[in-house]
């Protein structure tokens, strides 16, 4: 009995801990802002958290493959720029712009993936160099902050559309697609290649193809995040994506995704992103100078990871 409990706890230590932390944060949040659970609040908050959650989902995809994507923020910025520069008119135009931005982001991700899979260069080096490349392409597409997103879309997205929180629906949709993918052999292949590349290859998986697809999928997540950010702010900024690289890694690591690949769950990452987002907002409420935000983010990251390492070591000894 006791053994069973330890096994169950060991498997979900990080998730349970994160969930507890999230609950504490929500209670504290409720204390400062009693309208937390109203539809309007949920719409605003989900619009605010969507870019980070989706960017973190992209980073998680790559990290599950045993890689890392340091160009994620640049790809996010690129998709944002492409979406906003298209000058969409009407519903059809918006859809075209979205598809265009998504295609560009997926292509960028696939290029990263191809370099990692075929060139024999470590992911950290490839994506580091690629961050120059995609950041530069973004600046060529959109040298200055600007672009245009239809006003109606911005209002509907940020204030709710007929009482429906569009960003929350978008997040739920993306996560549902991920869940579906996880149940197919493609999702399993992702974990297999990340967990043991030799084994996956020996079992007949086309490991290079899986890698390219994984990085492409990460590009799609980053692209969606960029589109969301553009709609939320109503325009595009070529350099706004940069912090998302590090924050997406932070959210994934908080969520229990291993650096070595093959270990971790997307739900952990979503919780991690929510914790980071809520904490940032809470700091604003408490009236502490926003300057302290960065300090807190760094400290939380280290404390969470160190705690996790400590706990898992206790469990294995």
């Amino acid at each position: 009995m006791r053994e069973k409990l330890t096994v169950a706890a060991r498997g979900n230590t990080d998730l349970l801990g994160l969930l507890a932390l999230l609950l504490v944060l929500l209670v504290a949040y409720q204390h400062y802002d009693s309208s937390l659970l109203t539809p309007a609040s949920i719409t605003i908050l989900s619009a605010q958290f969507l870019p980070l959650i989706l960017a973190a989902a992209g980073q998680t995809t790559v990290m599950l493959l045993g890689g890392i994507d340091l160009s994620l923020g640049a790809v996010l910025g690129l998709s944002m720029a492409v979406f906003a520069i298209y000058e969409a008119q009407g519903a059809g135009g918006v859809v075209t712009a979205m598809v265009l931005a998504l295609c560009v982001a997926v292509a960028a991700g696939a290029v990263n993936g191809t370099l990692v899979a075929y060139a024999g260069l470590p992911p950290i080096v490839v994506t580091l160099a690629a961050s120059f490349l995609w950041g530069g392409v973004t600046l060529v597409v959109l040298p200055q902050p600007g672009g245009h997103v239809p006003g109606g879309l911005v209002t509907a997205y940020n204030n709710g559309w007929n009482g429906v929180a569009l960003p929350a629906v978008a997040i739920a949709g993306v996560l549902a697609v991920w869940k579906l993918l996880r149940t197919t052999r493609h999702g399993l292949a992702l974990y297999a290649v990340g967990g043991n590349e030799h084994g996956a290859y020996a079992s007949g998986l086309h490991t290079r193809g899986v890698k390219i697809a994984g990085y492409g999928l990460a590009g799609a997540f980053a692209g969606l995040a960029g589109i969301g950010l553009a709609i939320q702010t109503g325009s595009a900024d070529p350099t706004i994506g940069v912090p998302y690289t590090l924050n997406s890694i932070a959210a994934s690591v908080l969520g229990g995704i291993s650096f070595f690949g093959g270990v971790g769950r997307m739900r952990g990452t979503v919780l991690g992103a929510l914790v980071i987002g809520l904490l940032t907002n809470l700091l604003l409420f408490t009236g502490i100078s926003p300057f302290y935000q960065l300090i807190m983010q760094g400290v939380i990251l280290v404390v969470a990871l160190a705690l996790k390492t400590y706990l898992t070591r206790e469990a294995t000894v």
Binding site: F291, Q297, G298, T309, R313
Partner: protein, 347 residues
């Protein structure tokens, strides 16, 4: 594995030719074999590639670009390269033991901002410099402590300290860092010794010291061992803590030195002045032929890498390209160069 097999077959091939020729001219045969072997070793050496590419690029720049043939241009290039180079030398020490330091950008800004603030306030130049360097070293110690004792992956640990530093500097300066003119730093950044910029001399001294540390001292052997395989190294008694502290503290200290020289160069400090050095220092290390996974490479390669990156940036700037196009070309060039000579062996 391919590299090793190639060398083995090469040696056997040479051995047979040598055996054939040895009956007639033994001395010449041995010399020829040694020469070919040396050439093969050079071809396989990535740091040599870094300097080769650097030489070709520099020659092309002198021949085809305007203004690259003057002594003053050369002087300016090595002067600006030393800002990046000093950081990159420190980064090499950390990368060699398969770590990585993403907090160098924060440390560069930290040392410049603290020095400027103390110097423009009550403290003198010497106090300011000491305070800046002590704080930089402290950051390195925190990085090492996190990596060694908390077992946090280096990338996350240094990322976190970098983030904390950025926040701490905002709080410390209230968002508006000060400027200061410290005579000593002004000389270090802009002065010359017999026509050679002091900053370049400083870079050379730093490189020599780091060379000794990495390639001649016991700590350096430990760093290589840890980079090649941590568990095996620790099982053989390599002290992880001492080595990591030496590497991370040296790296942070060198980033601090670079921040001070930059402060002397511009006369002002800013919160973002370190930002370019985060990625560029790692790029210099990798272009210099050091494996990002650690355990393989040479410190001198980093010097070539830093010079190459500075030269490429200067070339792209001289062509009046827009910022975006410049970044695209730099990114493609880095990827291209890495594909040519920095591919990891497939495991």
């Amino acid at each position: 594995m391919t590299g090793t097999t190639e060398t083995t077959t090469d040696t056997t091939a040479h051995a047979t030719t040598d055996a054939a020729t040895s009956t007639t001219r033994p001395a010449t045969g041995r010399a020829a074999r040694q020469r070919t072997e040396a050439l093969a070793a050079l071809r396989g050496s990535r740091p040599a590639w870094a300097f080769g590419v650097l030489a070709v690029t520099w020659l092309a720049a002198i021949l085809f670009a305007d203004g690259f043939d003057s002594v003053s241009n050369f002087r300016y290039l090595v002067q600006t390269a030393s800002f990046l180079g000093i950081v990159a030398v420190g980064q090499t020490l950390v990368v060699m033991m398969s770590g990585i330091d993403l907090s160098v950008s924060g440390v560069v800004a930290l040392s410049a901002v603290v020095c400027a603030k103390v110097a423009s306030g009550t403290g003198g130049g010497a106090t300011a410099i000491t305070a800046a360097l002590l704080l930089s070293a402290l950051v390195g110690a925190v990085n090492a402590a996190g990596v060694v004792w908390l077992r946090v992956p280096p990338m996350v640990m240094t990322l976190a300290t970098g983030t904390v530093l950025a926040g701490a500097l905002l709080v410390y300066t209230d968002g508006s860092p000060s400027s200061a003119k410290v005579p000593l730093l002004d000389t270090a950044a802009n002065g010359r010794l017999l026509g050679v910029p002091w900053s370049f001399v400083l870079w050379l001294v730093v490189t020599a010291a780091a060379w000794w540390l990495l390639h001649l001292s016991r700590t350096g052997r430990y760093a290589f061992a840890l980079g090649a395989g941590e568990s095996a190294a620790r099982a053989s008694g390599v002290p992880l803590a001492a080595t990591a502290f030496t590497a991370y503290v040296s790296c942070a200290l060198l980033a601090g030195v670079s921040g001070l020289v930059l402060l002397g160069f511009t006369g002002t400090s800013s919160l973002t002045m370190g930002n370019p050095y985060q990625l560029l220092s790692i790029a210099s290390v990798v272009l210099g032929g050091t494996s990002i996974l650690g355990g393989r490479g040479h410190l001198l390669g980093t010097v070539g890498g830093a010079l190459l990156l500075t030269l490429l940036t200067a070339l792209l700037t001289s062509w009046n390209l827009s910022e975006g196009v410049r970044q695209v070309i730099l990114g493609v060039l880095i990827i291209g160069l890495l594909l040519v000579y920095a591919r990891e062996r497939r495991t």
